[in-house]
Symmetry: C2
Subunit: 349 residues, 2 copies
């Protein structure tokens, strides 16, 4: 029997652990796309420190390749593509364009292992004849120059966006190849939108806040942000989810508030700004705010977070050379005239 072929796109903290789990389980023929670290992995492999799968030195996935195109040519066609890259539709490459060359129309199941709401919309538009699944992950994992540290348990809520039998079959198959008794958990969730809203309670507040002020979650909390910004932002998100038909209890909010007590950690968006990497602002904030607007829900804090982060994103793009500002295009008033104009306009005594 030929094993199902799985491509994992994105070799960060999540993708590397996914590849490890699939290889350990032996029920799939997995390939990991490793772009920036390819030579490093080729030379010495990964150093894995994980609480659920144990520790590995010089570990290399069964297959790893430097690009999607190589993967498609050498290891396809794929039964599953797990998308674990960042999801930045306002960046230079959409997830659809990244995976395109490895998707077999009508055959490959695409599993979006990413945060945010409505992330399936552009993917389904690009691949209308493919099954697209939701993967909501609960793990604390990072990959720093080939050193992968994974804490907690590796839990995936594999979910259906459309609640149809074709998706259910694909979900069952995914659970079968991924789940390892006693080591990880795959929860089959026939309707995943609630799980996505729930996880956003965390992501919509801690990620933007820490990215904007460049401070860890716990310091923000010590300095009063639970009351001034975090709970108010979470409540806005809960109101948006409610307008979309999903009731999220206050206790979920309180659970997230205390999830990192004592850890002094920075969520991914804060780390992105420190590393000068683009942030996932559209899927985390932009899409929920579109739902808010459609349903007439007021969300002033999330709107302010979003608009501030859009400016920071433009700065990151300019730093990366993706955007260029030519000052000559913007020569206008002469601020030397400021005081006299101002005083004249206001009819001083």
């Amino acid at each position: 029997m030929t094993l199902p072929k799985v491509l994992i796109v994105g070799a960060g903290g999540i993708g590397t652990i996914n590849a490890l789990a699939l290889d350990l389980n032996g029920k799939a023929d997995a390939t990991l796309v490793v772009r920036s670290d390819y030579n490093l992995v080729k030379e010495k492999g990964y150093e894995i420190n994980s609480s659920m799968y144990g520790n590995f030195h010089n570990w290399r996935p069964n297959h790893f390749v430097p690009s999607i195109d190589v993967a498609a040519k050498e290891h396809g066609p794929f039964d599953f593509i797990m998308v674990t890259t960042k999801n930045i539709p306002d960046g230079p490459s959409s997830c659809e364009s990244i995976i395109e060359s490895a998707v077999t129309p009508g055959f490959t199941t695409i599993v979006l292992m990413q945060n945010g709401i409505d992330i399936e919309v552009p993917m389904k538009k690009a691949f209308p004849n493919n099954v697209v699944l939701s993967g909501v992950i609960y793990i604390g994992s990072s990959n720093e120059n080939g050193v992968v540290t994974a804490k907690g348990t590796d839990t995936i809520r594999i979910g259906s966006f459309n609640d149809n039998p074709k998706e259910f079959a694909a979900m069952e198959k995914f659970a079968e190849i991924y789940q390892i008794e006693g080591k990880n958990t795959v929860v089959v969730d026939h309707e995943c939108r609630k799980a996505r809203w729930e996880k956003l309670v965390y992501n919509v507040s801690f990620n933007p806040l820490t990215a904007i002020v460049n401070m860890d979650v716990n310091r923000c909390q010590i300095h009063g942000a639970n009351e001034t910004l975090i709970r108010p932002a979470m409540r806005e998100l809960i109101a948006i989810a409610k307008s979309d038909g999903y009731d999220i209890p206050e206790k979920t909010m309180e659970f997230f508030i205390h999830i990192g007590d004592g850890f002094f950690y920075c969520p991914s968006m804060c780390i992105d700004t420190r590393k000068k990497q683009l942030m996932e602002i559209e899927v985390i904030l932009g899409n929920p705010l579109k739902v808010a607007e459609k349903n007439g829900v007021d969300a002033p804090i999330l709107n302010t977070f979003y608009n501030l982060l859009k400016l920071k994103q433009m700065q990151l793009k300019e730093d990366k050379g993706l955007v260029k500002i030519d000052k000559e295009d913007y020569v206008g008033n002469n601020s030397d005239e400021y005081p006299s104009i101002f005083i004249e306009k206001n009819n001083l005594k």
Copy 2:
């Protein structure tokens, strides 16, 4: 005839130009307090490049001293103290405590050459028997290591907080010693609160925004912030001013929107964060928001700006050693339990 004695506290872009104007006019015996640059000024003086007073090499004020205490001992008692320092009531030294040793009760007139609303309240409380005046300044001036660059015109709206004859007399006297025909302008404003609200339209929006995103005004505008954040924030301030009895026309907002077209400049609060200096968040945002709360005016963007900047201010304080976070005090949950707790709490299928 003895000249009136004037002490200028704060030798930044404003204070140095104030000292220069008073010395050039020759109608006051001025003393400038120069703290950090004292040795530099003693050795080679200031380099002044000003559009209103001309250029000066190695310029030294008639009197300059390293501290308020020395000023009080050697050059007092003072008819006027011009306070041109930053105003940071949440910092280590309030303006009242800074000038205290140079204030002669019942005699010295204190001129607050600073932005913000209700800045006179703590000053009047500290010196109940002294006249406290408002100085609203319209000048673009900076002092970078003894090089002072001043553009535009030096215009001061000298104003009365209390609208009483004793203040009016002090204002007239101040105008007399400061005004130099053809070089600067002193506007005597019998009720200054409107001027303070007007200038806040600018300060409440551009200063926080650029400090939060660490980007110049013009880039923010190019990337859409006029619509998303700047005008909305200004409108909140205008609504607060209105609740306080002051009507500020939309054209004032539009004037400020275009005041720096083509200049790609950073306002003071943004520069403060870059230099890791504490910011004037209480007088610029905190006090207007107190008025908003008292009068029931909704100001969610300004509130969000304020709460974000309070976090940034705490980080600046921690960097300066004014605040210490002991992580041991905050050990709480164990985030390793995150996935299982979360899933249990939410009763997954």
